[in-house]
């Protein structure tokens, strides 16, 4: 049951509906008045207006099943020209032309545009009321806020001066934007629009620190940002599975109508906090886990035991199965088995089974996995100091290889390869006095030159390995080889695992685009001319052929690839990252790596990556109860057929997003069940099955659905689907679809769930009230915005990373955490409260920490108090700070300690180790920082939060009329 908002932050604009109608109206009037006052001078300037909604907006009526595949192709050349022209005109307006372009192209697609008609209808409203609302029947709270929607600028539709060449998508820079904006177009209190930080704070206040017991069906978990403890009582922890909505619509019609995607984000190996119980391991001996005979679902709390416990009915396919004799147990008066609480598989949402030989490759128990370190020893990596740094680090790092719980030393074997355009394998057998190097220069057909002594137990071969690691930097110290190969080294890894009959992980430390003559040779195909064109997608597409086959080989062998890149220029990350992202691996990139500067960051990442819990050679199956099924999977996965998700490895940070579709009606009574079963090999070489179960509600009331939506999960879903669509579609289409779908979801809510209100009001469901800001941020991410400022590789990297992200990571990525430090309480141990990601929140005399899970900024205002500067940097004032600030010294004073404590607390939460960037106000690198102020207008294009709300509102209104 929703409770009244705990905070009074929304002040006058938030009200309880129903009995307080009077107050509500009053409020509305007040704000209208307020608006008029501000808008008045603008009206005199005869600002241009929006045209009326297109007469026949047929495309909004029925939405295609899979919107990304059915987008109408581009317009004819003439209309193209027109589009450009229009956008040129629009570019002069303050309204971010992103949306104008969408608008226009939508119109063009509808073919309803009369070329002679003025584009902008002057008598259209220049202001709108936007209402954000949640309207369950009784306890409905409306968030009403009124926004001015002004096109600004003084130019009319025809008289507008063209603002230079606009590549279809004007990149606006802080200075330029201000100039073009003309007089300030809105003075609405930005606090009045829904605040993410507020929502996070509220949830933390309401549910943080509490125990979340998973005993109820369709229960909505706390936000990912909140601190809570999970108690598994029959449903999987939200750390493992999180749904877009916890109430599924009963019919596919309803689902289509509301456009809310039904999905779940599964992080099968999610790290469990120390205070929660780790997964129980169930061993049924030689018989293996009990399964439904028909659908093969595993025994779980949802199975119904009948017939005195002799049989059970499968919750997924309703098949009635015999209970095996050894598993028989009497039922109690409630019809539950007597041993319910003794058996994890009957009482818990998540647990593991020991798999029998039937679940192993070739019916042989698997060997423990192996880690192979493949070090590029070409000129770049030697010069940057990487090789030396890495070899030194490995000596200690290898002590911390992941091991099975309760086991003294790791069973993971290690191997070493160095390479440039040829490969060097090392024999580090413990019996040897010194390591042996075996050079393979035949890269055309890769093979592993040795069987015995390549993959060794670190503890046994420690002396030889240390000897080797000492020698590697010297051996190549005066290399001048700059060419490298890439595909052959992965091939070599696969072959090595094949020969050793094990799965494992390759750690590749690579420097440059592989240009040496070998399979998988790449060339520079980075063409900035393609930005914002139909062909932009080719930049994100991996090259087919060699790498495609490699993916298959890797997955078949359970060979996960982790790629650490140290490039100084373009290296076709789209192709190079293809194998890692299909094998459950990660890609790390350190541009222009310098050991002294970036060494710590890299080593932190490496340590975390090597040590993290991981499972190998995994295959996952998502089973659902009747009426719906998993139709689509997004993530760092490989799929050979439509149901089996194959992952060479899956670690604690890997998440995949599953989309569900109806194929029948769902029953409100029984609800919906999801079982995710993951078969994998542990780091100790044990084959196991991990099962996560989740039950959801079903409802024929859309309001129920909207009420139990999970914005963070939704945005994860949208991010992944959009990022995948980037491969096949122009970004313009994707953005269009995202906005359309947002509008649809809101329009549907308005139509079906909200109480009637003025058309000028934008109504947002409570559970989705910050959805637009995330959506807007998603569309402004570097990957989605083609700007010459951002390198293709950087965009590709983001795309690849997001594909494997869980809800927590996407949340913070799309809404970074901005923490003011100037007023921090040195004595308290809690983190200072975050503020909204907007420039307005920054102050000249402030100091802010911003993190998005990948980057960490420390922003220093120009008028930052000298005392603070002194205590943090040990220099007298802001002006004394050096040009290049690379690190934050650790000083012995409370402020410095506190800041370091905050930073480490933040880092602890994140999957990646973040590099600290110190940014001074008005300094060049500030641009990088400002990109992450997601409520503001994007530096490389993209609307501000406010503008986006206005635009969405207009779309909603079009849909409603």
């Amino acid at each position: 049951m929703p409770q009244p908002p705990a905070s009074s932050h929304y002040g006058s604009s938030v009200q309880q509906n129903g009995s307080y109608t009077q107050g509500y109206l009053f409020c509305l009037l007040c704000s209208l008045y307020y608006l008029f006052k501000i808008v008045f001078p603008l009206k005199n300037m005869s600002s241009p207006r929006f045209p009326p909604p297109p007469a026949a907006s047929s495309s909004f009526g029925q939405v295609p099943q899979s919107p990304y595949q059915n987008i109408a192709p581009q317009a004819t050349p003439s209309t193209h020209q027109l589009t450009n022209q229009i956008s040129n005109i629009l570019g002069t307006f303050a309204l971010n032309s992103l949306y104008c372009e969408w608008l226009v192209s939508t119109k063009l697609a509808n073919n309803n545009l009369n070329k002679h008609e003025p584009l902008w209808n002057k008598d259209h409203l220049s202001k709108k009321d936007i209402l954000i609302q949640n309207s369950p029947q009784n306890l409905q709270w409306n968030i009403c806020l009124n926004l001015c929607f002004n096109l600004g600028g003084s130019a009319g539709p025809y008289g507008g001066q063209l603002a230079g060449p606009q590549p279809g998508f004007p990149g606006s820079f802080p200075g330029g934007a201000a100039q073009m904006a003309g007089p300030p177009q809105k003075k609405l209190d930005p606090d009045s629009i829904p605040s993410t930080t507020q929502v996070i704070e509220d949830d933390q206040a309401k549910r943080g620190g509490q125990i979340y017991a998973t005993n109820l069906r369709g229960q909505i978990p706390p936000l990912v940002t909140s601190n809570f403890t999970v108690q598994d009582q029959g449903n999987a922890s939200p750390r493992f599975m999180r749904c877009t909505t916890y109430t599924f619509p009963c019919t596919s019609d309803l689902a289509k109508q509301c456009q809310v995607p039904l999905g779940t984000v599964i992080k099968p190996f999610a790290t469990i906090p120390k205070n929660e119980t780790p997964l129980y391991v169930v061993n049924h001996g030689e018989t293996g886990p009990i399964r439904c005979n028909r659908c093969k679902a595993y025994m779980c709390p949802f199975m119904q035991f009948i017939d005195g416990g002799r049989r059970f009915q499968c919750a997924f396919c309703s098949c009635i199965n015999e209970v095996p004799v050894f598993y028989f147990q009497h039922l109690d008066h409630m019809g539950r088995r007597m041993d319910l609480y003794e058996r994890p598989e009957l009482s818990l949402g998540s647990y593991e089974f020991i798999a029998t030989l039937d679940y192993c490759k070739n019916n042989k128990p698997p060997n423990p996995p192996a880690y192979i370190f493949m070090i590029d020893v070409s000129y770049t990596n030697i010069k940057s100091g990487l090789v030396k740094l890495l070899c030194e680090e490995l000596k200690t790092l290898l002590e911390k290889l992941p091991r099975e719980e309760g086991v003294e030393s790791s069973a993971v074997r290690v191997g070493f390869v160095t390479y440039n355009k040829i490969l060097h394998f090392y024999n580090v057998k413990s019996a040897l006095a010194q390591p042996q190097m075996m050079v393979v220069s035949d890269v055309a057909e890769m093979f592993v030159p040795l069987q015995d002594g390549f993959l060794v137990n670190y503890q046994e071969s420690r002396a030889v390995i240390h000897n080797l690691l000492d020698q590697i930097p010297d051996m190549f110290a005066d290399t001048n080889e700059s060419e490298t190969v890439f595909a052959p080294i992965i091939q070599a890894g696969v072959e090595a695992f094949k020969a050793a009959e094990c799965s494992g992980k390759l750690f590749i430390f690579h420097s440059s685009i592989p240009t040496a003559e070998a399979p998988g040779k790449l060339k520079n195909r980075d063409d900035r001319k393609l930005f914002n064109t139909e062909k932009e997608k080719t930049l994100f597409q991996p090259l087919k052929g060699v790498y495609e086959q490699l993916c298959k080989d890797c997955v078949a062998q359970g060979c996960c690839v982790d790629l650490f890149l140290f490039p100084s220029q373009y290296l076709d990350l789209a192709t190079m990252g293809d194998v890692p992202t299909h094998t459950g691996g990660s890609v790390y990139k350190y541009s222009n790596f310098q050991a002294e500067v970036d060494g710590t960051h890299f080593l932190n990442d490496l340590r975390k990556d090597v040590e993290k819990p991981i499972g190998f050679d995994a295959i996952m199956r998502v089973r659902t109860s009747t009426g719906f099924r998993a139709t689509d999977f997004f993530g760092a996965i490989h799929m050979n057929n439509t149901t089996d998700v194959e992952m060479a490895a899956v670690d604690c940070d890997n998440a995949l997003t599953v989309e569900f579709k109806h194929d029948d009606t769902l029953n409100e009574e029984t609800g919906a069940f999801i079982q995710c079963a993951l078969l994998y090999t542990t780091v100790g070489g044990q084959r196991r099955l991990r099962v996560h179960n989740l039950s959801l509600n079903c409802s024929s009331q859309l309001s129920e659905l909207y009420k139990s939506c999970e914005t963070d999960t939704l945005i994860n879903f949208f991010a992944k689907s959009a990022y995948r669509a980037m491969l096949n579609q122009p970004l313009k289409n994707i953005r269009e679809i995202l906005v359309n779908q947002t509008a649809h979801m809101l329009a549907c809510y308005r139509k079906n769930c909200a109480s009637p209100s003025a058309a000028s009001q934008l109504i947002l469901p409570d559970a989705m009230k910050v959805f637009p800001v995330y959506m807007n941020s998603l569309m402004k991410t570097p990957a989605m915005v083609g700007s010459p400022e951002i390198s293709t590789d950087e965009r590709v990297l983001q795309r690849l990373c997001v594909m494997a992200m869980g809800v927590e990571e996407t949340q913070v990525l799309l809404y970074p955490c901005l923490i003011p430090l100037q007023n921090m309480d040195v004595s308290s141990s809690v983190l200072p409260g975050a503020v909204r990601c907007s420039e307005e929140r920054l102050s000249d005399n402030g100091m802010f920490l911003l993190e998005n899970g990948r980057l960490l900024f420390l922003w220093l205002g120009q008028a930052c108090p000298s005392e603070l500067i002194q205590s943090l940097f040990n220099v007298p004032s802001f002006a004394h700070l050096p040009e290049e600030l690379n690190s934050l010294p650790e000083l012995d004073n409370p402020q410095s300690k506190k800041v370091h404590a905050i930073i480490s607390a933040i880092s602890e939460r994140r999957t990646n180790r973040m590099k600290l960037l110190i940014v001074k106000q008005k300094d060049r690198p500030e641009i990088l920082f400002r990109q992450h102020l997601v409520e503001d207008k994007g530096l490389h294009g993209g609307a501000s939060y406010m503008d986006f709300l206005c635009y969405v509102h207009r779309e909603v209104r079009q849909l409603l009329t």
């Binding site: 042996q436 075996m438 050079v439 393979v440 035949d442 030159p449």
Partner: protein
């Protein structure tokens, strides 16, 4: 005037040359009627301790097509300082260094006793010697250990400046980088993929950086004196010893019922390629040690399934040996590449089963390499033989020589048809090349990559003088053999042998021609021809051809020898025997064809006896030398005495001496012969006695034993015809006109 016997002996001792005819018929027609062609056995490096090498270079005929070397047969005009070439009659000026020449002050090359003379070329860099070991690691530990020891030992026999390299192979091929500190490096290659020299060069990183080469310019394209894979012995002695010591058996698992995967073809290819791109035309030995057949990749001779045995002669005849042709082609190509670069390939095959010598034979045969076949590396046969490869002469230089070429120059009346022996053609056309090819023909120059003092070539000539253009009485035909080679000291040397023989008109002087016939040389020359044909043609045809050609005693044994008979021999054995036959000198060749049998008894001193079953008597000890085997056979009675232990009794000391005598003689042979023969000590009824029984003339068999006196000799259980029957047949054939 000495007898022809003496003349022949003298010629052989001085020049290493033996002609089938020592007086030549003066016309083509007559020559063809003689059946046995004018031909010579020539031993280029005939040991001549009395011949000091001359420290200057030979004087050549200035005619471009001739370039014959000044020799004692040339006419010299001492006053005009001119000499006339005895081959083309070109008149040549002596070079300025010969200004002091006069009748009393003649250079050595004009003295008749220097019909064979050796020059040392002073120009050019000192060439290093290369020894590249190619070692199979798919063998039993015991074998490998023995091999490793032999190899380590061999390092001490190499001159310190010689370059050595190591390639090991099993499933993969490893080229070891030598002289690395702290870590041992090797380049590994897949055993199934052949690489050409260029690819190999790139993969081993032996290409010179382009910039560097351009900067240095073409004038200083000096061969690098060593590279990472071939290093001087003195530098990497310890390193290589350790490396060899650490050598392990191929670690790849061999499943039940399979042969180990042995990438011999690729290993050899890489060895050839490595030398090809680093030391072309420099003396080099690729020493290949194999413990079994190649089972994968190019050059494989048998699959890895143990249930399919390696091909036999039967399979080959039935065209049922699917790998033979392809493998042969592979090795032939390698042999030709190695030969073109003057590199030798040796094969030391030690295994109980066949190892594919049939397919690989051209590697040794074309390059003058050694082929050694033994049962195991852990036998004295291998160990001694291998050690003997590094035999040194009195000056302490290796007896072996490298990268040789032989050029033949002839008088106008005679032309060279071809050569048979461990050589390849250099395709040098010239006026003295005959159109009729015998053996490797169509050229007057051959490459002999590996030479030793016993290496002997058979050279076949054709008399081209027409019947109607008679040669004046007393005219002599001359042949000059010019052998250039790399001495093991690194010097280039040229040995020139010039011989002349009288012409005779066959019609008027048939007697003198007949008298000049060298029976032994002819036999070997014909045998070589026969073996050469046997290699390339079907067996029975060759026998028939041979029967038509010649009727002599030797031919009976030759017919029965393993050189022509494949029955009872594996293809590998045949190849091995033929290989040895094609390179050994006359004496050894004779032994191979007709083994020598000595008898030891109380009746008198040891005596050679007929190679006949009648020689096998109970009270005799027989010593048989077949070149490949040294066999001591104790007659029935002798062996009974021995079993009774009479030799240990002081009163029967004479018996002990009798037993010891053949052993001592055998040891003497064993010590001098290369390759070391198999030593067999057997007795009457012993299983090993079969070696003897198969060689002797079966004058008594189970078919006729009762018609002969039962007392003499032992009957042989065979269906082979005896010499007697053979002769009877031949007599009949010889007189019938049908032949």
């Amino acid at each position: 005037m000495a007898t022809f016997q003496e003349f022949i002996q003298q010629n052989e001792d001085r020049d290493g040359v033996r002609f089938s005819w020592n007086v030549w018929p003066s016309s083509r027609l007559e020559a063809t009627r003689m059946v046995v062609p004018v031909a010579s056995l020539f031993t280029p490096l005939k040991e001549r301790p009395d011949l000091p090498p001359i420290q200057y270079e030979p004087v050549l005929c200035s005619r471009a097509t001739c370039r014959a070397v000044l020799n004692p047969l040339c006419q010299v005009d001492y006053r005009a300082k001119l000499w006339a070439c005895n081959f083309c009659y070109q008149r040549n000026q002596f070079p300025p260094t010969y200004a002091g020449i006069s009748e009393v002050n003649q250079p050595a090359e004009l003295l008749p006793q220097f019909s064979t003379i050796e020059y040392v070329v002073q120009r050019g860099p000192q060439m290093p010697l290369n020894f590249l070991y190619v070692v199979d690691t798919c063998m039993e530990d015991e074998d490998l250990q023995a091999l490793k020891e032999s190899l380590q030992m061999s390092l001490s026999l190499l001159p310190p400046t010689a370059l050595v390299g190591l390639i090991t192979f099993g499933r993969m091929v490893q080229v070891h980088e030598l002289g690395c500190e702290g870590i041992s490096k090797s380049y590994v290659f897949r055993g199934t993929k052949d690489l050409n020299a260029k690819q190999l060069q790139e993969m081993l990183g032996l290409t010179k950086p382009a910039g560097q080469q351009a900067g240095r310019g073409p004038q200083t394209t000096q061969v690098p004196l060593s590279n990472r894979f071939l290093q001087p012995v003195h530098k990497i002695d310890m390193n290589l010893t350790d490396l060899l010591g650490e050598l392990q058996r191929d670690p790849w698992p061999v499943p039940q019922g399979k042969r180990p995967l042995r990438s011999l073809g690729v290993a050899l290819s890489i060895a050839v390629g490595l030398l090809e791109c680093t030391f072309p035309n420099t003396g080099a030995r690729i020493m290949t040690f194999i413990g079994g057949p190649a089972t994968q990749g190019p050059g494989m001779v048998v699959g890895d399934e143990l249930k399919t045995p390696i091909r036999s002669w039967h399979d080959i005849e039935k065209d049922n040996a699917k790998f033979v042709k392809k493998a042969t082609k592979h090795y032939e190509a390698l042999a030709n590449r190695a030969a073109a670069n003057g590199h030798i390939i040796d094969i030391y095959a030690c295994a109980l089963d066949q190892t594919g010598l049939l397919e690989m034979k051209c590697c040794t045969n074309h390059t003058g390499g050694y082929m050694v076949m033994a049962d195991s590396f852990n036998t004295s046969l291998f160990k001694q033989t291998f050690q003997r490869v590094f035999t040194k002469d009195v000056q302490g230089a290796f007896k072996m020589a490298f990268a040789g070429t032989l050029e033949i120059k002839t008088s106008r009346e005679i032309k060279i048809s071809g050569a048979i022996g461990p050589c390849v053609s250099l395709n040098a056309k010239g006026p003295c090349v005959s159109e009729n090819e015998i053996g490797t023909g169509g050229t007057c120059q051959w490459k002999i990559c590996g030479l030793d003092p016993s290496t002997t070539l058979a050279l076949y000539f054709e008399v081209v003088n027409q019947h109607n253009a008679p040669i004046p009485q007393g005219g002599r035909g001359a042949v000059q053999y010019v052998t250039q080679y790399q001495h093991s000291s690194g010097q280039r040397r040229i040995r020139v042998t010039t011989i002349a023989r009288n012409w005779a008109d066959a019609q008027s002087q048939i007697q003198s021609i007949a008298a000049s016939f060298d029976q032994e040389a002819s036999a070997i020359l014909m045998a070589r021809l026969a073996v050469y044909r046997a290699e390339s043609e079907e067996g029975p045809d060759v026998l028939r051809w041979l029967d038509r050609q010649l009727i002599r005693l030797f031919m009976f044994h030759l017919r029965r020898s393993p050189f022509l008979q494949v029955f009872n021999n594996s293809p590998d054995e045949s190849s091995y025997y033929r290989h040895q036959f094609m390179r050994q000198d006359l004496t050894q060749s004779l032994i191979m064809i007709q083994p020598i049998l000595y008898a030891y008894s109380f009746n008198g001193p040891p005596e050679p006896v007929l190679l006949d079953s009648s020689s096998i008597l109970p009270d005799r000890i027989l010593l048989m030398d077949t070149f490949f085997q040294i066999l001591i056979y104790h007659g029935e009675t002798v062996s009974q005495w021995r079993k009774a232990g009479y030799q240990d009794m002081p009163e029967y000391e004479n018996f002990r001496h009798l037993l010891q005598a053949p052993v001592d003689d055998a040891q003497e042979i064993l010590h001098s012969r290369f390759p070391m023969p198999r030593y067999i000590d057997t007795e009457h009824g012993g299983s090993q006695a079969r070696f003897l029984l198969s060689k002797v003339n079966p004058s008594q068999t189970h078919n006729n034993m009762y018609s002969w006196g039962q007392e003499s000799g032992a009957p042989i259980l065979t269906d082979d015809v005896s010499l007697q029957v053979f002769m009877d047949h031949l007599k009949k054939l010889a007189v019938s006109s049908a032949a």
